[in-house]
Point group: C2
Chain length 295, copies 2
């Protein structure tokens, strides 16, 4: 009868270990699925940003030189951020999702260890019942009772031994679990930090590319594209022949004339080349190189 409280303690212990294993199984499974969903959404965000990069490049091809270069450089930086987002996705899969997934098998082996212990304990309980029966049926047969007692003692020692083994296994499992949580969550944070740090660095460059766009230079190019070189002078001849011209349109004329005079022939040629590109609407590698040289 002295063993019964211990058996009860061990049953509580077993129940506790079982709950512990089930708890880890449940929460590691949930965490795994939620991290996987987080990673999938990150990949979808990268996809959308990739489309944005593509569109910024398409738009850049239709724009005046400075804005075009600025937008192309901006798109390059935005694309770089997506490359790092892709790296983030891949690293989270390897360093967070895979280790969490691995707990499915780890938990399975712990359950088997628990089962071994439980059957040893069942044998002990059965042996205990048998001893009780012997004592009731043959209270004076010392030999039979002594034999049953020593069999119970063996079963108890066996149950105690596997319990100890289980305790050690569960001890290791618990230690491993805490260390793995620290490692996995630490990896998650490290991967995220690496991405955010890179993004911060790249966006700083992207910001400069956009802010450096010289709108005045582009506006000049734009004006020249609307006023072909010989248009202004011929218009003057028409105006000279007209009696009404000077009074009505003198002001806007001189304004536009002044802006016109600031244009060099180099800029005009560049502008014409620009127009050809717009019509072809192609991603010209040679032009990209010129772009790089200029900035």
């Amino acid at each position: 009868m002295s063993r019964t409280p211990d058996a009860r303690v061990r049953d509580t212990q077993t129940k506790q270990i079982q709950e512990n294993i089930t708890n880890v199984e449940k929460h590691f499974g949930e965490l795994c699925q939620l991290f996987a969903a987080y990673v999938r959404k990150t990949a979808r965000l990268r996809d959308k940003a990739d489309l944005l990069v593509k569109e910024v490049r398409l738009y850049a091809d239709t724009e005046t030189p400075n804005l075009k270069i600025g937008l192309k450089n901006f798109a390059d930086q935005l694309a770089k951020v997506q490359d790092y987002r892709q790296a983030e996705v891949e690293r989270l899969e390897v360093k967070v999702i895979e280790p969490l997934k691995a707990y499915g098998n780890i938990v399975k082996t712990k359950r088997e260890d628990l089962k071994l212990t439980q059957s040893a304990r069942n044998r002990e309980a059965k042996q205990m019942q048998q001893l009780e029966r012997m004592r009731q049926r043959n209270p004076s047969d010392r030999q039979i009772i002594s034999q049953a007692e020593s069999e119970l003692q063996r079963a108890t020692m066996d149950a105690t031994r596997t319990t100890r083994q289980l305790e050690e296994t569960i001890d290791d499992f618990e230690m491993q679990k805490i260390c793995d949580i620290k490692k996995i969550f630490g990896e998650y944070v490290t991967v995220e930090m690496a991405f955010h740090a890179k993004a911060l660095e790249i966006y700083t460059t992207a910001y400069q590319h956009i802010q450096n766009v010289d709108e005045e230079g582009d506006l000049e190019v734009f004006r020249n594209s609307l006023h072909p070189p010989d248009y202004q002078s011929r218009l003057e001849i028409v105006r000279a022949n007209s009696k009404l011209s000077l009074n009505r349109t003198g002001t806007s004329m001189s304004k536009s004339g002044t802006l016109q005079s600031g244009t060099s022939s180099r800029q005009r040629k560049r502008d014409e080349a620009e127009d050809d590109e717009e019509e072809e609407d192609e991603d010209d590698d040679d032009l990209e190189e010129v772009t790089d040289d200029e900035h």
Copy 2:
């Protein structure tokens, strides 16, 4: 006849302005939609991370004290990142998507300006045809021809005036467009940078919370929860009665016994309180305060 090349120049110009407006309409529309998609995916990512925060908190409630505190603090930081992601979403909507959307109306007014100019030009062309007709039908009627000439001159001046106005409007539009692109893309980068900088800062704290988890302390708590205080001593009595005990399980006994001895009664009490909480599985505010005091 001297005006025809100018008219042709202006037709080219009009076509160019039209193409320019259509181009802005197309690309600003595309950019608007793609930025909106990017923002939507960012919001979905925030949603998934929110679920992750919730699950980490649920899991924390089932864990030993140090890991519980570490996980709760980690979840708080992860939640903070999502708050900043929400701010990112809202700011991108206001500072990027809305201004791009506004170009729908801006483009519409530019199209109307273009229409006004085109009708003035159509009137001029009609007047020119009429003059030609007069010259062919009544080549010697100086008065009729002179009248048609002055009407054409008026139409020409009117066309020239509205053309000038259009040029100025388009000039402003072009300048505004480049400045807006710089502003909108600049805002995009600024909003993203603010988020990444905050995330980097918060994850640094999150990392410390996770790495500071004392696994040895938790393991002790875990062991005590498996070995109730009086279990060990009673087991010793059982063992002393058994002839087989010392030979078979001496090693694992002494190991487990040593680890056991390191446990204070304070830790045991804390552990029991822990168990109660686990059973209730509630988000205890009082415990959260204790957590904050300790870290």
